[in-house]
């Protein structure tokens, strides 16, 4: 893929490494996006619990930026090459993608959860492509002081459908706000999904981010959490599976600025056939993040010889008083596990399927919407059933 073609550079590693590794950024080539005509809009369930305002995108962006303007935006870290593309509201996929989506959409939805309100049901934004189609959407979730809410964003389509989806979700968490944001990708095998998330966390804010990457031919996704306030929490739970020649490219960044912050990034997944996955996970402790904690872990199950897995777990620290750690385990099932399964009549292929499903379902079961969990179960089962391997 040539970076000189028509497209955008996304998912920049906050502190770049050797170019030949090919992980410093990803390139989305527009020339290879499926050509489709039909445009889809999302539907929304349980909307009565929140306020929805559809604004001109420029105004909406200015509104979001007003919550992020006080945050210092470094052009470089430790004197190294320019790494953070300066953005007022930093995003996981980066400035080029944000500029793109702001050109694509003219209206942005601001979804507001009122102060001290606690939503009884998840608000569900649903992109349902029965057949080929495309969509572009930007929304701002504004969780006011001490509110509690769950937002579930689902993209799904027929199995053989193709198209492209571009989404950007900006999140503003005021003091003491709790938000559970869940994104589920169950798109058909001809789709390209671009799904970006950005959040600003004020004092005592709690942002739980869950992402299930199950479908689509190519998925580019990022999430940047700016923990500007003190004692904020950012937890990520992501599950993915990819087979055939599918591509997944992920970039998560937790930027801890306030004292007593906590972030945890947990990513689990499995790769089959000739799937290609890149995971970049960065915990970035800025000076002042005293007594903060950061932890990231990726567990990857490799099920076929043709897979490519790239993992880049980065920790950047300019604050002494922190506890930072990361870990990764990558490999196939151990002989001990296979022997144990075999002794109970479960052959190698069935064992691999069980373990993969176990990983993914453990995350899916945290989603507070029964229908969605059922759909995820079905999607995983069908994905395995359709593979000769199983």
């Amino acid at each position: 893929m040539s970076e000189n073609s028509n497209g955008v550079l996304v998912n920049h590693l906050p502190s770049p490494t050797w170019n030949r590794l090919g992980v410093n950024r990803a390139f989305i080539n527009f020339d290879t996006l499926p050509e489709v005509e039909k445009t889809f809009e999302f539907t929304i369930d349980n909307a009565e619990q929140i306020t929805i305002e559809r604004k001109n995108t420029k105004e909406a962006v200015a509104f979001a930026d007003s919550f992020s303007k006080g945050i210092r935006r470094e052009a470089s870290v430790a004197g190294k090459a320019p790494i953070y593309q300066k953005q007022v509201f930093a995003t996981g996929m980066g400035r080029e993608y944000t500029d793109l989506i702001e050109k694509m959409v003219h209206r942005t939805d601001i979804l507001t959860v009122g102060e001290n309100e606690s939503l009884a049901d998840p608000v569900i934004l649903h992109w349902s492509f029965q057949k080929d189609g495309k969509a572009a959407s930007q929304q701002i979730i504004h969780a006011k002081k001490n509110s509690t809410s769950t937002f579930l964003l689902i993209q799904e389509s027929d199995k053989g459908a193709s198209g492209h989806v571009a989404i950007e979700t900006k999140v503003i968490l005021e003091e003491g706000a709790r938000l559970n944001l869940i994104k589920v990708n169950m798109l058909g095998e001809g789709f390209v999904l671009m799904d970006d998330t950005a959040a600003v966390l004020n004092d005592r804010a709690d942002f739980e981010f869950t992402q299930m990457i199950l479908g689509a031919d190519k998925t580019y996704t990022g999430c940047y959490a700016d923990q500007a306030g003190e004692s904020s929490v950012f937890n990520v739970n992501t599950g993915y599976m990819a087979n055939k020649e599918h591509l997944i490219d992920i970039n998560y960044v937790a930027c801890e600025r306030g004292e007593n912050c906590n972030s945890k990034i947990c990513v689990k997944g499995s790769l089959r056939d000739r799937a290609y996955k890149t995971f970049r996970g960065t915990i970035d402790f800025r000076r002042g993040a005293k007594n903060s904690v950061g932890d990231e872990q990726e567990d990857v199950l490799l099920l076929d010889e043709g897979v490519i897995n790239k993992t880049v777990p980065v920790i950047l620290t300019e604050e002494e008083d922190v506890d930072a750690r990361h870990g990764a385990t990558i490999g196939n099932l151990s002989p001990e596990v296979l022997f144990y399964m075999g002794s109970r009549g479960i052959d190698k292929h069935a064992a691999e399927m069980l373990i993969t499903r176990g990983h993914l379902i453990s995350i899916a079961n945290t989603i507070p919407d029964e229908d969605t969990v059922k759909k995820i179960n079905l999607f995983i089962r069908e994905a395995f059933d359709s593979n000769e391997c199983f």
Binding site: L13, S15, P16, T17, W18, N19, L21, V23, N24, V77, A78, G79, K80, A81, R287, V300, L302, L303, D304, E305, G306, V307, I308, N309, K310, T311, V312, P313, V314, I315, L316, T317, E318, E319, E320, D321, V322, D323, A324, R325, H326, G327, A328, T329, I330, G331, N332, S334
Partner: protein
Amino acid sequence: MENSAKNNPVEFNPELDVSKDDINAYLDSQDRTSIYDFKDDESSFYKLDSGLTEEIVNKISEEKHDPEWMHEFRLKSLDLYNKIPVPQWGSPIDGLNMDNIVTYVRPNTDMKASWDDVPEEIKSAFDRLGIPQAEHDYLAGVGAQYDSELVYHNLQESVAAKGVVYSDLESAMTGEYADMVKEYFMKLVPPTDHKFAALHGAVWSGGSFVYVPKGVTVEVPLQSYFRLNAKGAGQFEHTLIIVDEGADLHFIEGCSAPKWNVANLHAGCVELYVKKNARLRYSTIENWSKNMYNLNTKRALVEEGARMEWVSGSFGSHVSYLYPTTILKGRDSQCDYTGITFSGKGQNLDTGCRMVHLGENTSSLVTAKSLSKDGGINTFRSSIEVMPSATGSKSSVDCSSLMLDDISRSDTIPEIDVRTADCNIGHEAKIGRISDDAVFYLMSRGISEEEARSMIVSGFANPISKELPLEYAAEMNNLIKLEMEGA
């Protein structure tokens, strides 16, 4: 200038009855750089003009009586240097201007095989560094380079009798081993690799050639020591080691320089070939001065059943790019990397390693430690690459960093690239500070806070120092103690 700390180990031995006040008095009497920070008069030395031009490269080639192929090789490398961009991913090197760097400085002597024949002012420098004494006490052979040329090279007769070759690279290039040198020279690190490999190919000078024949074990280590004395100069030594099938060698590399107020450059290159069932340990204690840009390249090719061991201590330099690379080509080949980096005031050290698994059932183990203090910046950078052919391979990376104050910085940027399902890869890293509880515990037993912190740091570094020969471990511990002064 007094003798180096290495020659006064009694001053620092905690098991001896030396009072803490004595140790503090010693520490007060000198700062850390003073151990290596002595300058010698070089007015009689031959120097080329600063900068990097075709004319300068031609002159170096002429000075070194290069064979024709080497002359052409240098010019091609220069061309590559001019084409390859400066890397954009690491510590800033904008303070390095090649127009100001003198690429060749020849001392006023040729290479000697006896210290008595080395001119007094040069011998005196190596005496201060403890090299002749070390050779006498525990080394099988020594090569000593001063600026751009080796001034001393010697190998014990008993080791030479086994067929071991240890010589300067220039002699090897035109002597009995000329074909072997031509076959291996910059094949593992081609000038196309990166900008500073190309620079090295154009202006390399000095360094060592080692050949250990099949089945030969060299019982005691060989050492090359590189001293860069000249202000604003570069050192570009090339080390080429071939350990033949079933052979065994421990090679030690040391380096230092006085501190100048202008940039100096070290762009050396180390190429190591570890043949079937052989073992090579390559130990380095690097203590360049804090005006040095240390842009060094080290690479090993490991054949079937062979074992490569890197032991690396990085204490000096203003900026370092140092990532020993190991290509595990043969099945069942192994590599251990054990490294420590200590960044103090004004230092930005970017170190780590790269493991490339090509053969079946290959394994790598990485243990990396780093410490940052007084505004020092540490970056641990690594990649573990497991290719489709490397089925059954294993790799484990363990990286720990200690931040010793709130003005320093520590980053870890590892990458793992796996292209086969049949492997087992693990990675762990942690960054933190010295535990207050541990300091409190030690203080409750009558140990001062400073000493408690120093003890904890020594313990942190212990997995590295225990891999070094005793004398070098003592030197490393002394360096850590000096770095910890006032922490």
